[in-house]
Amino acid sequence: MAVARISIPAPYFARPVRSLLGPLGVSARGMSIQQTFMETISRNIANAATTRGANGAPYQRQIAVIETDPVTGAPVTRIVTDTKQGELTYNPGHPDADESGYVLMPNVDVSTETVDLMIARRLHEANATVFEAAKSMLRRSLEI
């Protein structure tokens, strides 16, 4: 299983500002995580019909998972390759068809990806709303 690690560092602020801008940093990190999810999903959808990748094999679906870094405690996004085999489709005219006329398709199900995309978008929106709320609270406290 091929694994690539993308580390999203926790934002650092000078001490007096950190307590005020803390929620902003947390929400920004949450949005970055959902961005990674959306990038992975869009890569899967874009390659839903790629029957021959760089290694000559059909494209394999990638899944983004969130983990907590044991050292820093910050959330880390990990990209995992789904090794499940794709469907065999009968298409004798296809250049990648075997001698029986079957083509091994990528293991990407577009409807599954769309549902995952909807969840990612919803979580991104939730983080954006929290970010906006923190911003308006900060603005209000500056008006006192």
Binding site: P23, V26, Q34, A64, V65, A133, M137, I144
Partner: protein, 96 residues
């Protein structure tokens, strides 16, 4: 006299405490929303996890409602604090 204006029993101190509490609540909500996990729906374990994620969805809705509540409380406390400071300013200057 100064203690009466800014001490622990003063309204400004209590309002500041309320604002700090709202800030802390907001930070906790932001942390929970940022760490909300997305279950993959690719396979059966993934689908099971997604079914379990329905609970997370409920928690998310509750968190968003709590966020709105916290925001309103913060807004109210900050407006009252602003008014208290304005009153104090008026009292110190001796004019409106």
């Amino acid at each position: 006299m100064i203690r009466g204006m800014f001490g622990r029993d003063s309204i400004t101190y209590q309002l500041r405490g309320g604002m700090k509490e709202a800030m802390d609540t907001h930070r906790a909500i932001a942390q929970r929303v940022a760490e909300a996990r997305q279950a993959s729906t690719s396979d059966f374990p993934g689908q099971l996890q997604a079914a379990g994620a329905q609970l997370d969805e409920d928690t998310l809705t509750q968190d968003m409602a709590a966020l709105a509540d916290t925001q309103l409380r913060f807004e109210a406390a900050s407006r009252l604090l602003q008014k208290s400071y304005n009153d104090l300013r008026t009292a110190i200057r001796g004019r409106g």
